[in-house]
């Protein structure tokens, strides 16, 4: 858990006051919508089809139980009793009123939460591995760097009016759970030959209309230089990123147009001028931030305690869930537990106020008051004693967040689509819902192994369709909803953009088509343990095309 102090609190309060004044000026007509829009966006306020939407930051995916309860309160008091966890460690409320927003934000500020820079052309919420601090495969807690970057980027005077939005993600583990290669800046913390930790810096990754995988412009950056280097990147982008065409304004286009090498040279030249300035991080400064990350007082426990073994032997459903949703923790006797927000027939990533409250209580009892949010739109309890797992499971099961489908075909990432979003071409939630029904047989799903389906309702790619093992993109054809399918995308350390399977299919056929893709995979895989993504890699798209489109 990160402890905010009075400085952080003051800033969040001051921001609420500023926004209250901005809303007042808009409601009185002093501000036009054009003027107000970029102000409200910088405070995470969108206008969707039916209402305003508020997007609240969950920096590096860490929530306290107290904060989770406040989210439940906001859902009840200002919204319609639920919220939607997004792919970027944010939560969205879909029915909020502009005239009540300042009050909602003040309530959030009381637990040091805010919506700063969750939208708009600025540096967005810094994201990281939802297992940071507890993952066995990490070299250190990446959230410390998330916090350093969060502070640096918050209300940055130079970078609040960038050509376009800007997303930064960090990983410190060998397995990338933060999708750093599809971010504007991806940072991978690793050790060099001398055993010193530093960052590989990647730029120009991103999805949207043109998808790119990030390119490395510096294989190893010492920790002290992180802020000055990132500031140099942003300064080059702020000045030279395109502003003439919204679809070409992301940094990936600049990097693509001038080339990663030339871009890197510009950055290095700028960095030379500022690297020894005020942004250089001395060990004292780093230690100050790190010291405010608090970890539970772990008990000395052994792995696989008797209570767990007994539970596994006694209940096959528990056993299934355990195998699917529980991971090894850094500390013996503890476990990392994923809560699936993908129940059969449910909208991916949604949680009701009642569920939020219940999860907060469970976090208090079983996870040192801490909850995490991952980019797959699931939640995590990061510090669970293994001996508590049977009890915890029963509680999770009773509130509907123990579907044992994590990383399986029905663990679908989906954007809100045309049911909410003003930019959408098509709906995406009903497609996800129908897929979870079609693949409700969990034995079959387990037989398929890891398989990620990602759905976006338009080319903006909020549902990360390019990097789904199966990607579904909504397009419009003559006023009808159509869907393009891609296969072979992935978002991890081997990130790749999926390849187009063939012509778009109409709404009524999209779920059948996915089923055909899955059937083709079962036929084409070499062995039962060859994953979908590996089969596609091995044989390419064509064998899938032949089979899927043979009958269409």
């Amino acid at each position: 858990m990160y402890l905010y102090d009075d400085f952080d609190k003051t800033l969040v309060d001051e921001r609420v006051n500023e926004f209250r004044d901005q809303v007042k000026r808009r409601l009185s007509g002093e501000l036009t919508e054009e003027e107000f829009k970029s102000l409200r966006l910088m405070n995470g306020v969108y206008l969707q089809l039916h209402a305003y939407m508020l997007r609240i930051a969950i920096p590096y995916g860490t929530l306290s139980s107290e904060q989770m309860r406040m989210l439940a309160h906001v859902a009840r008091r200002y919204d319609r009793n639920y919220g939607h966890f997004t792919t970027r460690q944010n939560i969205q409320f879909n029915w909020i009123k502009l005239d009540e927003l300042p009050d909602a934000m003040a309530d959030l500020a009381s637990v040091k939460m805010h919506a700063m820079q969750t939208s708009g052309n600025c540096i967005r919420n810094i994201t990281t591995d939802q297992w940071a601090g507890v993952a066995p495969d990490e070299i250190e807690d990446a959230r410390v760097w998330g916090e350093i970057l969060r502070q640096w980027s918050t209300l940055h005077p130079e970078f609040s009016f960038l050509p376009r939005k800007f997303k930064i993600a960090i990983t410190a583990a060998s397995h990338d759970r933060a999708a750093v290669k599809v971010h504007d800046i991806g940072l991978r913390l690793h050790k060099n030959g001398a055993g010193e930790a530093g960052f590989e810096v990647m730029v120009g990754g991103g999805l949207g209309r043109t998808a790119f995988i990030g390119k490395t412009i510096r294989p190893f950056l010492p920790k002290r230089d992180l802020l000055s280097y990132v500031e140099a990147i942003l300064r080059v982008y702020n000045q030279f990123g395109r502003r003439d065409n919204i679809y070409k304004a992301r940094i990936k286009i600049l990097v693509h147009e001038i080339g990663a090498e030339a871009f890197g040279r510009e950055v290095e030249a700028e960095w030379e001028k500022i690297k020894d300035g005020a942004l250089a991080l001395d060990p004292k400064a780093i230690a100050e931030i790190a010291s405010r990350f608090r970890y539970p007082d772990y008990e000395r426990l052994a792995d696989e305690p008797a209570e767990l073994k007994a539970g596994l032997a006694a209940d096959a459903r528990f056993d299934t869930w355990f195998k699917n949703s529980v991971w090894r923790h850094k500390v013996p006797g503890y476990a990392i537990v994923t809560l699936s927000l993908k129940p059969e027939g449910g909208p991916p990533g949604d949680a009701t106020a009642e569920q939020m409250d219940a999860i907060a209580d469970l976090a208090d009892r079983y996870s040192a008051n801490e909850i995490r949010v991952g980019h797959e739109q699931n939640l995590v309890l990061p510090h669970v004693r293994q001996r508590d797992l049977p009890e915890l499971w029963r509680a999770l099961d009773s509130i509907g967040v123990a579907t044992p489908n994590v990383n399986l075909v029905s663990d679908i990432i989906s954007c809100p689509g045309l049911d909410y979003c003003a930019l959408a071409n098509t709906r995406s939630i009903p497609v996800a819902q129908e897929l979870t029904r079609r693949f409700r047989d969990l034995d079959l799903a387990r037989g398929l192994g890891r398989l990620h389906i990602n759905i976006s309702g338009c080319i903006n790619a909020c549902g990360h369709h390019h990097v789904g093992h199966i990607g579904i993109l909504g397009v419009e054809k003559n006023g009808e909803e159509y869907f393009q399918l891609t296969i072979g995308g992935r978002a991890d350390e081997k990130a790749e953009v999926g390849a187009l399977l063939g012509p778009a299919v109409p709404y009524d056929d999209v779920v059948d088509t996915v089923e055909d893709i899955v059937a083709a995979y079962l036929e084409l895989r070499e062995r039962p343990d060859e994953l979908f993504i590996d089969t596609v890699k091995r044989i390419g798209v064509e064998p899938f095309q032949e089979r899927v489109y043979a009958t269409r």
Partner: protein
């Protein structure tokens, strides 16, 4: 358009000179970039201070050799949303050591004042009268700053460290020296 300087609305002593118009003697003028680059020496001999209106898509490095002949640099925000000149301002102040007047022109609204000030601007051609009047209020809205810029405001991090080290008198002294 009201001009704000030192927190107050003031008279603008500069005259804008368009592309080919003759430059009046002994009057402070602001000339376009092309004009400065073409007639820099003539302008300097004119007996009246000179400012330049520098576009936001030209590098500051190009302007640098002429800075010593100038009293004012005006940078442009053609749209509220176009933030290129923030970077130019910081480069001017923090890398080229510009100490003269740095003016923000274009679509300047109250919600940018603090950012502009932090980037190094010290005069502001404000679009709306009401915003110009609210200048002081708008720039005092925040008391906590997370990132260092050339404006000298202490960052939250340094303030925290200072507070932590103020436990010992020697450390406090060192903090003051810095």
């Amino acid at each position: 358009m009201p001009l704000v300087k030192g927190g107050r609305i003031v008279e603008d002593s500069y005259q804008r000179v368009l592309d080919d118009a003759p430059v009046p003697d002994r009057i402070p003028v602001i000339v376009p970039a092309a004009r400065l680059l073409a007639d820099a020496d003539d302008l300097a001999r004119r007996g009246g201070v000179t400012g330049v209106l520098w576009p936001n898509d030209r590098r500051i490095a190009e302007l640098a050799p002429h800075l010593h002949k100038l009293a004012l640099v005006a940078l442009v925000f053609p749209k509220f949303k176009d933030g290129r000149a923030y970077s130019q301002a910081r480069q001017l102040r923090e890398q080229y050591g510009w100490r003269g007047e740095l003016r923000a022109t274009g679509e300047i609204l109250r919600d940018q004042f603090m950012f502009l000030e932090r980037a190094g601007f010290d005069s502001f051609e404000v679009k709306k009268e009401a915003d110009a009047e609210a200048f002081v209020e708008a720039t005092r809205r925040f008391s906590v700053f997370y990132q260092p810029t050339g404006d000298g405001r202490a960052t939250a991090l340094r303030a925290r460290l200072a507070r932590a080290s103020s436990a010992t008198p020697i450390a406090r002294e060192r903090e003051q020296v810095r």
